[in-house]
């Protein structure tokens, strides 16, 4: 008995250790809040966690019961040398017992299903309040395009949404589209994932309760660089969000000092794929660069947005994100420097 208690204690300790490891892991990166499904910061993620806890508790109990039966029968009914030469009583079955272990699982399934159906309905059929922010998300091979139809803002890779006060929720509703293959939008701490499927618009919503940067990444295999199609959601205070929208509305900065770089940009293949508002550049295959410098990262989160990385990205994208659809631009060193200088002004 004592041995059993000891083993149980050890098991509990290791479980507690595991949990603390997981929490520590989630807190390790100060720049972001982690991707732990056990640390919900928004209603959908929290409802899912509550349901998960319930389902895991029930399956946990089933596990303990069946596991105990299994271990008991293995240890109790092992052949001993005393009886090895005779056969045990031959039992063929029992209708009562079979009925019992049919009916109990049926009841468990009914309970689990009710709990599940309730949350499915609450999440999927949630009406969209009039004050909700609408954002259209378009998945591309290997980056994210965000459109704010109400504000006429187009940006890429870093989504900005206002924080939602639980007392007066201002949720964000995402319309999910795809330009090419399937993708999936997954910020574990804000909501479960929903796929972006071409010709099949989807919808999801979230109402983040805290400001900060929430991370995640594309969860549906979409091609070579599926791994570096990272997601960053910046949850801003309402004031910061309005300020951000105002800045995004500004036309692109036209700085006299970087005319040379601008000429490089507008006379090479850059403009086939990239757009800068108010210039001839209106390509839509790549991220909108009008306010490139307002973003922390480039290449869908694959690198920090520094002049060095920008320069490397233009010169040799393979060094940062092998297999991305950005071509190496083959510019002379002076053109490259001028171009990076121009991009640096796109605030």
């Amino acid at each position: 008995m004592q041995r059993v208690t000891k083993t149980l204690k050890a098991a509990l300790h290791s479980f507690a250790f595991l949990l603390s490891c997981m929490t520590a892991a989630a807190a390790a990166d100060p720049a972001s809040t982690g991707t732990n499904v056990f640390a919900p910061q928004s209603t959908p993620a929290r409802s899912i966690l509550h349901l998960s806890t319930f389902v895991m508790a029930i399956t946990g109990i089933i596990f303990v019961v069946v596991f105990t039966l299994l271990v008991y029968s293995i240890s109790k009914f092992r052949a001993k040398s005393a009886n090895a030469n005779s056969e045990p009583a031959q039992v063929y079955g029992s209708t009562q017992i079979e009925l019992a272990w049919t009916i109990i699982p049926v009841l468990i399934v009914v309970v689990l299903f009710m709990a599940t159906a309730r949350v499915i309905h609450a999440m999927q059929d949630a009406p969209e309040p009039t004050n909700a922010l609408e954002v259209t998300v378009v998945g591309h091979q290997f980056w994210w395009e965000y459109r704010y139809p109400k504000f006429g803002v187009v940006t890429a890779n870093e989504l900005h949404v206002p924080v939602s006060d639980p007392a007066h929720p201002t949720p964000t509703f995402l319309q999910l589209l795809s330009a090419d293959t399937d993708h999936s939008f997954w910020i574990p701490e804000l909501a479960g994932k929903t796929d972006l499927v071409p010709n099949h618009p989807n919808r999801m919503w979230m109402d983040p309760e805290h400001t900060g940067v929430f991370v995640g990444q594309c969860a549906q295999y979409c091609g070579t660089q599926h791994a570096k199609m990272l997601l960053r959601v910046s949850v801003d205070t309402p004031e910061d969000f309005e300020q951000w929208i105002r800045e995004q509305h500004q036309p692109a900065v036209a700085d006299e000092r970087v005319t040379a770089g601008r000429r490089v940009f507008e006379t090479t293949a850059c403009i086939n794929c990239h757009a800068v508002n108010g210039t001839v550049a209106n390509g839509r295959f790549g991220p909108d660069l009008t306010h490139l410098m307002s973003r922390t990262t480039i290449a869908a989160g694959a690198a920090l947005n520094t002049p060095e990385n920008l320069s490397l990205w233009i010169k040799n994208p393979e060094a940062i994100k092998r297999g991305s659809l950005m071509p190496a631009m083959q510019l002379s060193q002076s053109d490259l420097e001028a171009l990076v200088g121009y991009l640096e002004t796109l605030r």
Binding site: N36, S47, H121, S184, D195, V197
Partner: protein, 557 residues
């Protein structure tokens, strides 16, 4: 019994050249030889698929690792999945069906021996076609060899716009060809079970394994057909200007998903039902008791067969089906757990009150029971749709289905290897090496697949060739990778055991386990005609009746 080998005077057995032997094996229509060919073929692909898994695990050992390029990584997981499902587990299970079903029902061969050989060679060439893509896949485009679209090849990734060259064509054709082979074998199994049973072998007296193969055969017919149809449609899209799945021209990506998963989920049960069959034969023999609740076990299997045809879209909870569809597939998925649970209880009921002998086949069966229990429960967790919105497409799912396929199916198949190897070769596998194999594999398995659940809960998606540091995934992935190598060592021990025991193993005799089904009544290995006199069967355990004439089963059934 009267069915030992008979010597035919004047037949020269000695002195065949290797060319004659090879010719005999290639042209054979004997169900036992075809069974062995299937199994050896599957074992070869186990090693190849295993090497691919190791490449994946080395790449993921730590964040931003640079062992292979993303292109190679994507090919590796595509080839690993396709290989293991279609060219490892399926052939091995078909091999056991071929070998055991006629022996267990008192038949001299399968119903259609030539169809049997044809099906095997279709499957065999299917696998070679897939691997030929490494040489021929890039075509004239230099587009890279070997398919890299994932084993589901979700549309529109398989379209020519996203998958130039011929790698996807090799994938499509190989599944089409081997799928036809599977359909042939399934027809053969069904016809054999229904028409070839020996005297007294009523349906209700068949060994459970035979019953389960009958259900499996029916499911193969239903499941492989839509897959083959989808592959043909994909070929039409790629070369004849069709737009079934071509989303750029208004085709439907979701249609492909439905086609794929209405194959894909029954397929899981196609694979696991024979594994249930192995456990249902082996656990009673080593517990020295008949299977508990035989009729319920049959009914539960048939129930699983039917219900599992209506669960496929639980792979698609994140695709954006409406709430009613999601609820429907949630309840069907949970419901399939009921007959599965009944089976687990019946296996425990079989052991209960028995005298359990812990020989290697039984060890693997106990591993199977324990791991399949966990796999089933994590399956129930993911059947809860909103929970799946978090867990789907993450490493939690990867851990879950490897628990099913490795922890469940592969463990039961290893048990089958240790149990029937003496019948097939006439020699016992080494118990000692078997225990090394078992314990190494158990340790490696749990290191890999227990730990693998956690990165999924921490937000790690599947099919990524690398990941960002600082997410808390590094240490966990390292443990997972080390476990994978321990499993590889265990497989080496297993293969070594297969080889060395063939040469040096103890002679098995007809019935080394003191078992009860018909295959143990004939010599090991059985002669080409299986039984000199086809035995008369009076109960579910004909050999028990023979060994215990004072208390035969036929009194109770």
């Amino acid at each position: 019994m009267s069915s030992n080998a008979i010597t035919i005077p004047g037949v020269q057995v000695e002195g065949k050249s290797w060319l004659e032997t090879l010719h005999e094996w290639v042209t054979t229509v004997d169900h036992k030889r075809l069974g062995i060919l299937y199994i050896i073929y599957g074992l070869g692909f186990l090693v190849i698929g295993g090497v691919e898994a190791l490449i994946i695990r080395v790449q993921l050992m730590h964040s931003h690792n640079d062992f292979v390029t993303p292109q190679v990584f994507n090919r590796m997981f595509t080839m690993h999945g396709t290989t293991m499902i279609f060219f490892m587990v399926m052939p091995v299970l078909f091999g056991f069906a071929n070998y055991l079903v006629p022996l267990m029902i008192g038949a001299r061969d399968m119903a259609f021996p030539r169809l049997n050989a044809f099906s095997f060679w279709l499957t065999a060439f299917g696998g070679l076609l897939l691997y030929f893509s490494f040489l021929g896949g890039s075509g004239l485009y230099g587009a890279g060899n070997a398919p890299d679209v994932g084993w589901w090849a979700y549309a529109p990734l398989g379209a020519r716009a996203f998958s130039p060259g011929h790698s996807t064509d090799y994938w499509t054709l190989s599944l089409l060809v081997s799928g036809l082979g599977s359909i042939g074998t399934a027809i053969n199994i069904i016809a054999t079970v229904l028409c070839m049973r020996g005297p007294g072998m009523k349906l209700g007296r068949m060994p459970l394994l035979v019953w389960l193969y009958l259900v499996m055969g029916g499911m193969v017919l239903i499941a492989i057909t839509p897959l083959s149809a989808a592959q043909i449609m994909l070929l039409v899209d790629r070369y004849l200007g069709g737009h079934f799945f071509d989303t750029q021209a208004g085709g439907s990506a979701v249609l492909w998903m439905h086609f794929f998963w209405i194959f894909g989920h029954p397929e899981v049960y196609v694979l696991v039902i024979p594994a249930f069959g192995f456990a249902s034969e082996i656990i009673p023999v080593f517990s020295r008791k008949p299977i508990f609740g035989y009729p319920i076990m049959v009914a539960a299997t048939v129930a699983i067969g039917f219900v599992s045809l209506s669960v496929w879209a639980h792979h698609m909870f994140t695709v954006g089906m409406n709430s009613y569809a999601n609820s429907f597939f949630a309840i069907t998925t949970m419901a399939v757990g009921i007959p599965t649970g009944i089976k687990i209880f019946n296996w425990i009921g079989t052991m209960w009150g028995g005298r359990i002998q812990f020989k290697v086949p039984m060890l693997f069966c106990i591993g199977f029971l324990f791991q399949f229990l966990i796999a089933g429960l994590t399956g129930i967790i993911q059947a809860s749709v909103p929970v799946d919105w978090q867990l789907s497409l993450s490493y939690f799912v990867v851990a879950h289905f490897h628990y099913v396929i490795v922890g469940g199916i592969l463990f039961a198949t290893f048990a089958a290897f240790y149990y029937w190897y003496p019948k097939v070769t006439g020699r016992m596998l080494s118990e000692n090496l078997g225990k090394w194999h078992f314990w190494l594999f158990v340790i490696g398995f749990h290191m890999t697949f227990d730990v693998m659940h956690i990165p999924g809960l921490l937000g790690m998606p599947r099919r990524i060739y690398t990941y960002e540091p600082g997410r808390g995934w590094d240490t966990l992935n390292l443990i997972v990778s080390i476990g994978a190598f321990i499993q590889a060592v265990a497989i080496v021990v297993f293969v070594w055991n297969l080889v060395i025991s063939y040469i040096k193993g103890a002679k098995a005799g007809n019935d080394p386990w003191d078992a009860w089904t018909l295959e143990w009544s004939t010599s090991s290995p059985p002669p080409a005609y299986n039984f000199a006199t086809v035995p008369m069967v009076g109960s579910r355990r004909p050999l028990w009746d023979l060994k215990h004439p004072e208390d035969p089963d036929s009194q109770y059934e």
